[in-house]
Symmetry: C2
Amino acid sequence: MSTLKLTHNIPTKLVFGCGELKRLATEPMPGHKAMIVISSGNSMKKHGYLDKVVKLLIENGGTESVVFDKIQPNPTKRHVMEAAEICKKEKCDFIIGLGGGSSIDSAKSIAIMANNEGDYWDYIPSGTGKGMAIKNKALPIIAIPTTAGTGTEADPWTVITNEETNEKIGFGNNDTFPVLSIVDPELMTSIPPHLTAYQGFDAFFHAAEGYIANCATPISDLYALESIRLLYKYLPAAVNNGNDLKARSKVALASMLAGMVESTSSCTSEHSLEHAMSAYYPSLPHGAGLIAISLAYFGTFKNDCMKRFMKMAETMTEKKSARPSDFLEALETMQKQCNVNDIKLSDYGITPEDFNKMKENARMTMGGLFACDPRPITGEEIMDIFRKSYK
Amino acid sequence: MSTLKLTHNIPTKLVFGCGELKRLATEPMPGHKAMIVISSGNSMKKHGYLDKVVKLLIENGGTESVVFDKIQPNPTKRHVMEAAEICKKEKCDFIIGLGGGSSIDSAKSIAIMANNEGDYWDYIPSGTGKGMAIKNKALPIIAIPTTAGTGTEADPWTVITNEETNEKIGFGNNDTFPVLSIVDPELMTSIPPHLTAYQGFDAFFHAAEGYIANCATPISDLYALESIRLLYKYLPAAVNNGNDLKARSKVALASMLAGMVESTSSCTSEHSLEHAMSAYYPSLPHGAGLIAISLAYFGTFKNDCMKRFMKMAETMTEKKSARPSDFLEALETMQKQCNVNDIKLSDYGITPEDFNKMKENARMTMGGLFACDPRPITGEEIMDIFRKSYK
């Protein structure tokens, strides 16, 4: 008897392509007044993206909008609550996340709180969250990413930091899938090289973790391998020439595919470990944290899913692979080509004294992902990953 | 500048696996009273599938149901209208299609007419249809396929025959995607060998047409090639031993993937030609009609997308391909292994006098698919395809 079982559920309409932002003027809108959520930096204004979005919304049947522009790189519960309050007052009936993962994730969490009472952490089912049932559906969400990494445009997940408790927790349900995502690589040309690399590797690890996860499916495998192939081939070019629209486009597609992996398989504990690191050291970019621990992390599992490591290596190098460590070598090559091969935990102020509490925090706040590892990882192995990635 | 553009939109929750029919008792239902649409044959009753579905619905919060059991192999507008009338009278608020493509397609069309006035053909935008706008959304649809071929569980399309006008026309919109599809290969073991082959090849051509279509995307390509790979490898085993659950499972997955191709790329004119054939000769099974014209049809385009033909050949045979006709050879091999390599149009009573009117009917009723061909096909080439497939 065949034991193959899977669920595939990505209700988001994904619109992808250079220049496709204009579709915001013609796609059916899920409401009449949007809250547009952007970061506290000025890039969305400077590059004219915000003005364009406001204008396209007006073209689309006179859709109104208000702007919330306080989101930080590690977005916080405080801003989610503040924006949701404004949303209720302004009677916004849908939310647009415009920008990087932090803005889009915030849009998702704001969409929940704009239609529900209480505190966001009341609904968080792990860590110090109360795990209460969400009474009303989140408002409809539109995602317009201007970075290529999180994949949040193609998954229901939103990662928010509770700055009172040092918890950075992922959350989501069927209603936090965007109803529409517009991925326009032309909005990504201004990302500087090091952030292009961090974000691209975030996408890479969504795909690679989702490929070795014990809940991978034949369909998530299709997305994962194609994402891995595209990133190995095009991320270095996008890092080294931000105006290479072909490379930007391939990387954006890879990121979207990796988001589809997150919706159909799962990240593994690498993401839990990184969330714990960023929760204590908010200046550590998520992608940089993942890169720092990646070789030690994947090395831990290299004998547990040998065929999958070899398949990833073959997909990357287009050469026959004879041993799982070929993947680790290809990963290191790619990191060198993207100039991010020397990131260490110590660069961001992390000290060996932090390792134990980060380990505990990872299990407490994002314990679910450990269940998706190829096999249970031990506490000693986690400490070893931190040690190897320290300096 | 990169010209890669795509839209990916498959809002259906797809649940796949042996024994997964039981999920009907636990998944959220979109309503309180279902119309269950089944064929006029007795297989859904004989095998106990209908009883199971009714029982699982009751377990799911006491969901009520009524049964409509008149659907024919080429489902008709008359039955769509009759069922929709019953639906309104019985106040059903969602529709379940249980069975082959004819039952599920009918469920989709009934879902439209149960919530709208007038005649189904008022809304059909081609042939003699009036192309009127649909006023109200279709009722929610759940698909439970018991065959592996149509892919209708993963696409919005419904193909209905207007028996008054000899038109067999595909139709659908965003609301005719099933909200939930449960694909349980255990429900497929009783399909006889020749139907297993016809249906499996229907899936194969959804994938292969979608792969050579000029609107193929990098994501539809992933689904298409995996579907082609699985069918080449497992369809012969499913045909030759219907109880081989592993083969049944792989073929069912391939069919679902091919449905995802139909949602993200498109069929080409091979399907238009077959619809015209079946419209005049309703005893011709859709899959048999496709098989009959397939070698001549694909032969027509073999020099227009050579790399894609070779990629399909390599995916099938797992050998390096040097020329596009390798695909035609692999296709013929597969047809031999499935004992369907000698189907001719003359077997079903089609005569050379029919060729011209079938050609005209194909363009009139399903003209849209011609626009997706790798290049425009000429009338003479169509006549030639019919001639080569005649006997």
